[in-house]
Structure formats: C-alpha cells, structure tokens
Amino acid sequence: MVKKFKRDFDKMKYFSPDSLADAVEALLKYPDSHLLAGGTDLLVEKRSGKIRVETVVDLKRIEGLDKIETLPEGVQIGALVTVNRLLEKCPLLPGLEALKDAGKVFGCYEIRNRATIGGNIAHASPGAEYASTMVALNATFRIFGPSGVHEVPAEAFFTGPGRSILKRGEILIAMIVPLVPGSASAYVRASRVDGMDLAVINCALYVSNQDGGDGKGVRVCFGAVAEKPLRIIEIEKILSEGKWEGENLLKNVLKCKEILMKTLSPRETSIRANPFTKKVLAGNLLEDAIGRVGERLG
C-alpha cells in the first residue's frame, strides 16, 4: 500500500513511503514522479524550471538506507547516507581515502548535511564527486526494482549526462566498495573558488598492491571531461608498469599526460573551463593524485 503524507505544497503530490516496495509502487503509478533524497539537486532544478516536479517520492522514511556497514565483501554505504555522515562515520580503511577526499570539498557544510551519496550518484552529473570516485574504487551498486534486487558495477551505471541505467521504478539503494588490504586511493579536483563550487574537472585514483601479480592494480577515473565518468585503461596500464617511484614513475606520469592531451576531448561549450585547460588539468590532477596515493601507500 502506498502510504502518503499529502501536503498542499504548490499542488505537488508528495509520497513518503516506509518501504522500498511502496516506493517502487508509487514510482510506477506516477510515471512523471521524482525521487527525493536530500533534494539538493531536485529542488534547485525545480526552482530553475529545468524540470517540472508534480509528484515526489521521498525516500527518507525508509529504514536502513542511511547505514554504513562493513561486510566481508566491502563497505556498504546506504544510498541515503549524507556526505557529512560519510565523513563522520565511514571507517578509515586503506583504499577508502578518496571517499573522504571527495566529501571534504563537496558543496558547503549545509549542503553536505542534506546531500546524499546515492543522490549524487543517481543524478549522474558528469562531474559528480561520487561518480568518478565510485568508478575508481570499483564499487558495486545495488539497485532495487519491481523484479527485486540486482547489482551492477559502478562503471556500467552511468550512460550520459544526467542519465543512468536506472529504469522507471528502480532505486539505487546502496554502494559496496571492495576492501583490499594494502590499497590506497585519492580524489582531487579543480574548482574556481575554494568555497562552495562544482568541480571544473576531477580525478579519482585507486591503487592496489595485491592485484595482478608483479604490477599494481590501478584504476583512474576523470569527471567533467566527458559525458560520463571516464576511465582511461591505457593510463591504468602505464601506471601499473614498473616501480612506483623515482625516474620510472616520472616517466610514466609524463606518458600519461601525453595520452590525456591526445585523447581527451572535453566539450567546447563548458563555461567552467575550456578544453585545453581541462586537458592540462587532467594530467596535473592525476600527478597530484599519484603523489597522494603514493604517500598513503607508504
């Protein structure tokens, strides 16, 4: 049964189900309905007229979606965990550093109090802090829908700006980040001001000592350089080769920068930075991330 709290708020229909099944039912019953988590994207887009919001399905009353749990397969972050909650509660485990790096520069304190990790991901902005981060960390997304629960790798989730594989009636409910001993990660971004800003471009890097025999398991993901978070396998391969220090690393970083300059083609129309700037920044942010991960690997 769909329980509803009806409120005459601008004649908007507002549902506040207490189970996922009810939420799905509401989503299916009202094909133009929007999911509400923190609302930091939804309300802004409603006000600006970018979207029409007539029906809202609020997820906040559903229990269990705001939990962080450490499971054998990794750390499970509920979709409704707010950024500030993540900063406070997420265990400081090797490999998870990027989650906190991203949280610290996300919006401003007030926004971090409302904004949820799941909302940030499901909104699928190409520059979203947690899009690049989850892809680099090789997270798995858990999705609840009419036919039950299924999981997808983070990388397969995003399909374009503001678009994901989520179908009508499906809800992103949790992200599971694998835990690998001896790994480290970092998230870095460029912004226009130090205070509240969006990422002009971002870079998340994950390195594991245990993957793939002699080399390193490296995953790199850039945000706001393409229509969706962009992994560049060629760079990951280069960074997996040889020792992670001195001349070798320097040589590899230069190679990566060269590849980024050649392969990236950020859109010309961005008002946050021109394509040349973004390409240069991509290389420099990667270098910065490598430095941070290097320190964290010890």
């Binding site: 460029a190 230069l254 050649k262 040349f276 700037t277 920044l281 290389g283 420099n284």
Partner: protein, 807 residues
C-alpha cells in the same frame, strides 16, 4: 556602551574615532530589519516581465491573447503607451522596450497578475515576433563603420551640456582631455610603450535583489517603495517622465541589502511606476529573481583601453596617451559619468606633464552598465598600474622606484589642472608603507628563489615549452606586487546633502537624512557625528532608518564614497544649529551673552552654571510657566563647493572636489597545476583623513578588497554568440566566499585630516577596490614571469599563459 563621557582621544573627541557597534546591528541580526521583499500590501498585484530573447531586433508584433486568458492575469503592459524616455544625463531608454529590443533580457512586456504563478504562466504564453538585426557586443566593434546602430535617434536625445554624444554612431559620450603637448612629450622620451587592456562586464551580485512596489492614488499621487541608493534622483526622474510635481511623488526606501552602485541613479522605478499607473489604487510589485539580477538591472565595468606612455631614461614619465572604450550596454545614462570620471583619472596617481585622454561611452547589445564600486577607477588603474609595471621592467628600474619618481605630491599638477595640496593626503607614505608591509624593503625568505628587488620574476615557465614537458619543480610559486591608487568622487557639481535634527523633550534627538545605509555603516557614522557635535551619548540620537522623500531631506544620492564627508557635513551643520538655538535660549534664561556659553555633556554651560538640553529642547519654561522660543530644530545643507563642468576643449576644470590616495600590495601563490591564484596577503594603505569608526572603516576596505579579488580572479559575465549571459546564476558566477578570503588582510589608515570636511574625514568606501586587480596581477608577474593584460586571471588564462596553447 563603554563609559563614553570619560573617553576622549588626544584630539578631544568622545565618539569620533570610536568603534561603536552599528546602530542597525540588532535589526539586521535578528531579521527584524525590513527590506523591500518584506513589505506586504493588501491585494498587491505582481509583475513578471517578458524579456527579450534576442539581442537586437525590431519588435514586429506582440501576441498577448493567450496570456491574457490565464486566470488571475489583470493586464499586460507593453512599452507603446510610454510617451517618454528615461534618463537623467541622457534620455535614451524606454521603460519597457518600444519598437526595438537592444539586449537579451530587455523587458518587452509586463504581465500583471493577482499572483506570481499566474504571472509566470502568462509570461510563457506571450509571443513576440521580431525582425532580427545584427548585434554588436564589443565596444571597439561597435565603433566600426559597418557596425549596427543601436540608437538611430541618438542625435535627438536630450542630454545635459557636459556630455557629447556623436549622432550617427554608437558613441553616446566622448570625453576628451588635453594637458600639455603629448607629441612633444613622446619625442623627448627615450622609451615609449603602447599596450591594450581589458576589464570585462561583471555583476554586482548584491545580497538583496532589486525590487520596487508602487501605487498611484486615485488622486494621481504616486508612492513607490524601492531598494535604491538614490530616492531623490528617482523622485526627480519620475516627476519629469510623468509630468507631475515632485510634491505628488513619494519615494520610500526601506533597509537596503547592498548597492555597490548597482542601485544608484535609477533601476526598476520608471518601469514599475509606468505599469502601476494602469492600475490606480493598487499596489504593484516587482522583485527580481536572483537569476534576473544578472541581466535585469545594471551590470558593471566592461572597458577596453589602450595606453601609450613615454618616459626618460631615468624614469620620469613624460607623456601619456589614453584611449578608453566603455562598452556601456544598450542604454547610456547610468554609465555616462563613468566615461568622464574614469577618463580624467585614467593615468592614475602620477604627475604627467603631457596627457591626452579620449574616453568613449559606446552602445553595445548588452544589459546597460551602471556604477560599480570604484566608478571607472578600477578599469583605469588596471591599465595604468599594469602599464607602470611593464614600463619599469623595460626601463630596468624597480617599479617601486618608478612609481615614487612620478607620483602626485603636494605642488604637483594633476590632469585636471588642479594643484595637489598637503591636505589632499600623503601618497608617498602610502606607497612606502605598502611596500614595506608586503616585504619589498626587507629580506623575506621562504618564497622566491632569489631575493631580488621586486619586479624580477623568480620562476619563469617559458611559453614555448610544451605542456607535455612540464613537470614543474614547484607546484606553488609565490610573488609580490604593488599598485598605487587615487580616486575622486565623480559627482554632479550640485550634488547636495542635507540633514534635519529635532530636539526631543528629554534632550535626545531625532536625526533625518536621505543618505542610504547600503551596508557601509552610514547610519552609525552619521549618528556618531551628531553625537560628537551635540556632545550627547550615541543612544540619545535616533537616526531615521530609511529614507522617504516626503519626510527626509534632500540627498543627491548615496554614491562616490561621499556620505560621511558630504552628508556628515550636513549633519554637523544641523547639530551646530541646534547648539546655536540652545545657546540663544540659555543666554536669555541666564541673562548672559551667547558668546560666553559652551556645551558639554548634554548641557549648556556658563561658568559652573548649566542648563540641560531637556529644558531647552521645546523652549524654556520659566517657573511661572512663561515659555520662550518653542521646539528646537536644526538643519544643515552642503554642496561640494567650487566644482565646475569640464572645459569643452581641454576637458579640464574643477571636476574633483576631493582626493583620496592610497596604495595596495599583494602576495600571491600561483598553483601551477591548476592555474588557480590564491592571495595570501593583501595590504591596503589609504590616507583616509580622520577615521570616524575604525571597525566600520576597516570593514569597508576589507569588503572592497575581497570584492575586487573576485573580479580579478574569477568574475566575468560570459556571453554566448547571441548575447545571452551563460552564467546568470551563482552556480557559475563565482564570487569569493569566506573560504577564499586571504589569510592576511592588512588595512592601514593614515589620518592626515581634510580641513573642509567634518572632523577631517576623506572618502574611503570604494578605494579598497581600485587597485586590487593590478596589485594581484603584478604579484602574479613576479611569481611566474607572465604579464597579464586582460581580466579575470582565471585558470583558463593562467593555464594558457603557462603551458601555451599547443598540441
């Protein structure tokens, strides 16, 4: 309040020079202060504007039928019925577009409805058929022969005598200044350098959006509430355009949440009054959205300039030739005086024997430009203070030395032909102190590679090195820069101020002015001046919080950093008149000559005998009940005396009533990886004359510095090819936040008093913004070796300069 009566500074002031808390602090902190959007009226009608989506077009037809059918819509007003043009110095703007639109965002129709939702809905249903015309967005392009003309009627527009529109062109004002013989000066020069500079359009981004609420009474009187810096200008303007006496117009200004020049002259008032006239007896309300603030009112700056300067081998500037092109947007009235003021002060605080300035106000298909803190001076100093830096490097002398060789000193003749006097302030000390504070005169290690005199780059990333080869040794490079400044208030020759003080029965006072507290603290400072002059505690003065042309006396407008100086003088004169009346009464009561009386601590004294103000305020009542004099009122009135229009041929004359000199210096850190510049330390030294309230004065300077930093590093209105502002929201128009403020903000005031002003004050509110951009850019040059000539210094510019646009 501390025990004020005991505190006297060395010059004997009790309240002047004290950082008393703002008199409006409690209302503002608690939210009780009422701003325009807080005012509610019964049955108010709401305006929502249909705005042009094209930059330049003839309006062929406006289809209103669908929109008029929306429930709740009471009418839609277009510009056709307005038989007047708006303006003060030049009348060139219809209240709502008529025949033509000239910028994206220009109001084409005003939907009036019972609620905003209906108004919005109807707006979407208004269809406008345009005959599109070629548009032009750059002032230099707008000057070309084949450029589209924005105002075919320019030759017929009314304008005041001191302005020179060029009919048949897009030039709505050309200001020309000549001093000495420039050609001869360049011939004598051993080095001549010419360069172009640009300062883009930016937004004031006031915290409070513009708004106005108006009602025409059935008897034909107009009452308008507005968020304005200029109620009396608005009153005069409305009187002219509606052909009714000012005595039938009442302009009320509640609390104002930030102006920065963007609420000076006029903004929404003509439009709202024009629309309200169709709905007599009804309050009609228009409050802009945050997004509309970027194109729906005034924008700022937008100047391209060229400077040619010649100097002798030993560093004496011999000649300067300046061209400034202000892209004034679609209408010129609110920018026209910037063309003159920015023009005559364009060569900065230097004595140059031979000068030619040509400053043009040029129509472009952008939103109209208006005053923005600094009023042409930041644009001019961006050019001159960068030029000085580049010249010094080429001459092989330190730019500090170069500046000191050429600055205006007592006895120097400025561009206008005025001789700088001792009392105008001590620029040389400002420059020396700023240089010392930023560390040019001492060894500061830790930053630059080599501890050389400033101006020499410490780290140079050659432009010809490909980005791929760059792996900078250092991610952060630091540098220091300096830039001097001067500003005079650019005001009308008859820019009057007045004040009224009334004595209450208990010896407290009511003070009325029409100077607007736009956040700068004028309520507090004017209260302090009254308290000091009357010698009563500040809580015995109540300043009327707001302005109302039917209640508060004339103030030309709250602009040009002139309130403390000008309105302050009026307040002081009003207070002196009160004292004079008190003494007159007391002399009768005590039967002593008036001249032998003095005032102290709220009493009139003769020797040891005293009469408290409370017994004089409403006239003196003798023991038998007989009363003399009656209620005491004082008034004060001032104009900036001796100002003249510019000479038509040379552009010179008494155009500046005052001068304030200063110097700014920056220490920056450039992030070579991200192209971000961070200001680590910023120093401002101003010869401010007497400081009335140190905390407020410092706040003014710090606010100006941070605002200037925003324009230097980030702020720019980004236009699409079709003239649409692409970043019309705070998401992408980034102003500095608390996190972006420099770690060290140093403000130093010299207090050489100004003789003709109340207690020796000098204007300071804008000055902190004037040379922020060149000080930072000069520091960036020191850090990276790169010279920048265009603003803002955002990552796109820095990355391109450092890495070269290769690959």
């Amino acid at each position: 309040m501390k025990k004020e009566s005991q505190i006297r500074t060395e010059v004997g002031y009790k309240y002047i020079g004290q950082s008393i808390p703002r008199v409006d602090a409690v209302e503002k902190v608690t939210g009780e202060a009422e701003f325009i959007a807080d005012l509610y009226f019964p049955d108010v009608l709401h305006i929502k504007l249909v705005r042009s989506k094209v930059p330049h077009a003839r309006i062929k037809k406006i289809y209103l039928d669908d929109a008029l059918r929306v429930e709740g819509v009471r009418g839609i007003i277009t510009g056709e019925k307005a038989g007047f043009l708006v303006g003060i110095c030049i009348h060139d703007q219809p209240p709502i577009a008529r025949e033509k639109v000239r910028f994206v965002g220009e109001p084409v129709a005003a939907v009036v409805a019972e609620n905003l939702k209906a108004a919005k809905k109807a707006c979407d249903l208004v269809r406008v058929e345009y005959g599109e015309l070629k548009a032009v967005f750059d002032p230099l392009e707008a000057l070309r022969e084949d450029a589209p003309r924005l105002h075919e009627g320019l030759g017929h527009y009314f304008h005041l005598p001191s302005f020179n529109p060029v009919p048949g062109s897009n030039i709505f004002h050309h200001y020309h200044l000549e001093k000495g013989n420039v050609e001869a000066g360049f011939k004598r020069s051993s080095f001549v350098l010419e360069r172009s500079y640009s300062f883009p359009h930016i937004s004031h981004a006031q915290l409070e959006p513009h708004g106005a609420i108006a009602r025409w009474s059935s008897g034909g009187e107009l009452h308008i509430y507005t968020s304005s810096q200029a109620p009396h200008i608005v009153s005069e303007l409305l009187s002219r355009i509606f052909s009714i006496p000012q005595s039938k117009i009442r302009v009320s200004v509640p609390f104002v949440g930030g102006g920065f020049g963007g609420k000076s002259d006029f903004t929404l008032e003509p439009l709202v009054s024009y629309v309200a006239r169709f709905f007599p007896g009804k309050w009609v309300r228009l409050i802009l959205d945050r997004e509309e603030m970027f194109f729906g009112s005034l924008i700022g700056r937008g100047c391209r300039s060229v400077m040619k300067m010649g100097a002798s081998r030993d560093g004496k500037i011999l000649a300067a030739e300046v061209k400034m092109y202000f892209g004034g947007g679609a209408y010129g009235d609110c920018v026209i005086n910037i063309v003159t003021g920015g023009g005559h002060n364009s060569t900065g605080p230097y004595e140059i024997e031979n000068v030619v300035v040509d400053s043009y106000g040029v129509y472009t298909n952008n939103p109209p430009v208006g005053a923005y803190r600094g009023y042409g001076h930041p644009e001019a100093h961006w050019m001159t203070e960068r030029h000085i830096e580049v010249m010094a490097e080429a001459l092989g002398i330190s730019s500090l030395e170069f500046r000191l060789k050429n600055i205006l000193r007592p006895g120097s003749e400025n561009n206008l032909g005025q001789i700088i006097r001792e009392e105008n302030g001590d620029l040389e000390s400002c420059v020396r102190i700023a240089a010392r504070e930023i560390g040019f005169e001492e060894d500061v290690s830790g930053y630059t590679e080599k501890k050389k005199v400033f101006g020499v780059p410490s780290v140079k990333i050659a432009k010809d090195v490909s980005a791929l080869e760059i792996l900078p040794q250092k991610r952060f490079v630091a540098g220091r820069g300096i830039a001097a400044l001067m500003k005079s208030p650019v005001i009308s020759t008859s820019a009057g101020s007045s004040a009224i003080i009334r004595a209450n029965a208990d010896g407290s006072f009511e003070l009325q002015v029409s100077a607007i507290d736009i956040g700068q603290g004028s309520m507090t400072v004017l209260t302090q001046i009254a308290a000091e002059t009357l010698d009563v505690p500040v809580d015995k003065i109540r300043l009327f919080k707001g302005a109302d042309t039917s209640l508060t006396p004339y103030e030309w407008q709250t602009v040009a950093s002139s309130t403390t100086w000008k309105a302050g003088n009026a307040v002081r004169r009003a207070a002196l008149q009160i004292i004079d009346s008190f003494k007159e009464i007391a002399s009768v009561v005590l039967d002593v000559p008036k001249e032998g009386l003095s005032i102290r601590d709220g009493c009139v004294w003769y020797g040891n005998e005293s009469i408290p103000y409370s017994r004089l305020a409403l006239g003196y009542v003798f023991p038998d009940g007989k009363t003399i004099h009656g209620p005491v009122i004082g008034w004060g009135s001032v104009v900036p005396e001796g100002m003249t229009y510019p000479d038509p041929k040379t552009g010179r004359g008494e155009l500046a009533a005052e001068w304030t000199f200063g110097c700014q210096a920056a220490e920056v850190e450039v992030d070579v990886y991200t192209g971000r510049i961070r200001v680590k330390k910023f120093v401002t030294v101003i010869d401010a004359g007497k400081i009335i309230n140190p905390v407020l004065a410092k706040g003014q300077v710090e606010g100006a510095v941070v605002q200037g930093m925003g324009a230097t590093l980030n702020e720019v209105l980004i236009y699409s090819k079709e003239g649409i502002i692409r970043n019309a929201s705070l998401t992408d128009y980034k102003i500095p936040t608390a996190q972006d403020i420099p770690e060290k903000l140093v403000t130093i005031f010299l207090e050489n008093p100004q003789p003709d002003s109340p207690y020796g004050v000098r204007p300071i509110a804008e000055h902190g913004i004037v040379s922020v951009a060149p000080a930072i850019a000069n520091a960036v040059k020191d850090a990276t070796g790169v010279d920048f000539y265009d603003l803002p210094l955002n990552p796109d510019r820095v990355i391109e300069a450092l890495y070269g646009k290769k690959v």
